[in-house]
Amino acid sequence: MVMVEARPLDDIGLVRAAQGGDMQAYEELVRRYQDLAFRCAFLVVRNAEDANDVTQDAFVRAFAALPRFRADAAIRPWLLAIVSNQARNHRRSRRRREGLVLRAGEDAPRGDAASAEESVLDRERRAELLAAIEGLREEDREVISLRWFAELNEAEMAALLHRPSGTIKSRLSRAMQRLRVALAADQEARTRD
């Protein structure tokens, strides 16, 4: 814990300071974006240790690439493209692929019987949804989880996946359609049982 007498800079100021060799400014930039970068890296490589390696490597590379970055350009897509390049190097990692799970306590009763029942239903539905997403092929799973769990917009997904925005849009649309089909198939199977 430190007390600070200062004024936080915006991204442009931090980028300019970091381009001038100010490591403190770069550290601040990393802190601002490490959460986003790590989450995206994890959703692509699906292993927390690999994601840590990828994110660290990406920020080390980004520092080297910083002189070529236009300070007033959007930093998120630029960083995500670098994260993506590093993630490719880790795709062959032998570490265990980690599936997505629901948080513990998601099914905790919320008091009265009606809301407890609703909570269990919510939990079931969420588990179904997540299982359906996890059951999709990698390309669909990736685009859906980046859109909905990392909250990337199309331009950011395009940067991360090295595809034009239009391609990402149609890829997401097709992935959502296949998710609907998978959910309907699950539903049908349960109704038969």
Partner: protein, 256 residues
């Protein structure tokens, strides 16, 4: 077939929105620390263990960066100062001018709550503060703010506060140079009773805490005016609100 889904959920998109907070993504590890270590090729020098080396580095940084019109960073006790000629940024919304963090307590209560002796100014008209604020958590070991209403040498701010003297243990940290920069604020080197001190003046700036993971503790952000900062007897001390450096130094030198 009964409807298994709450009526309010209409689209798959809405369901996915609701699913997001329920999905357990692994927590983000500290990335910035290892990255900066890798870029520097060595663990960062800490001011806690080598204050004079850190100071020397800060001076070297000052000379280098002044030449390059870039940023400098100075540290004293548990406080980090930074400024630069970088682009000014809009004020964060979390700032409440004049708000002094901590709970209002009696001086005796504050004395019982912290593990360091609380120093009081012995100047005429000061002495026992009009209010005492205690923050038991930040920084570790606690901090005490002595608050005085307006006096001729330190006019009241918007919140009616004239002068604030903040005291906390100096050996806290992660002891790294602060990374935040600002334009328009001057930092002058001075001294208090022979100890190095800094006078931060020329424009409003922020005082706030960073937690151990480096995140800004938003609720501690406070817009402050001219401030004198120094270290004495293992304490970091701040005098904020004095009309001039001379007044601030007089108050500082009278602390017992």
């Amino acid at each position: 077939m009964t409807d298994r889904f709450p009526a309010r959920v209409r689209t798959l998109e809405e369901e996915l929105d609701q699913l997001r907070p329920a999905v357990a993504l692994p927590p983000t590890p500290d990335i910035a620390g290892p990255v900066i270590e890798r870029l520097r090729g060595a663990p960062p020098v800490t001011a806690r263990h080598r204050p004079w080396l850190a100071f020397a580095l800060a001076v070297v940084a000052l000379l280098m960066f002044a030449a390059a019109a870039a940023a400098v960073a100075w540290a004293i006790g548990g406080v980090r100062l930074t400024f630069s000629e970088a682009t000014p940024s809009p004020a964060p919304s979390a700032v409440a001018s004049g708000r002094v963090p901590g709970e209002a307590v009696s001086l005796a209560e504050a004395r019982g709550a912290v593990d360091f002796p609380i120093l009081l100014p012995e100047l005429d008209g000061l002495g026992t503060p009009d209010a005492v604020h205690l923050d038991r958590r930040r920084p570790s070991g606690g901090s005490v703010a002595l608050i005085y209403g307006a006096r001729p040498d330190y006019p009241a701010d918007a919140a009616g506060v004239g002068l604030v003297i903040t005291e906390f243990r100096a050996d806290i940290g992660p002891e790294v140079f602060e990374k935040l920069v600002h334009s328009g604020v001057r930092v002058d080197e001075t001294s208090v009773a022979g100890r190095p001190a800094y006078w931060v003046s020329g424009g409003a700036h922020f005082m706030f805490y960073r937690d151990a993971s480096g995140r800004v503790v938003e609720e501690t952000m406070r817009l402050v005016g001219d401030t004198l900062i120094w270290e004495s007897s293992g304490l970091t001390l701040r005098v904020e609100g004095a009309r001039s450096l001379e007044v601030a130094r007089r108050i500082a030198a009278s602390l017992r």
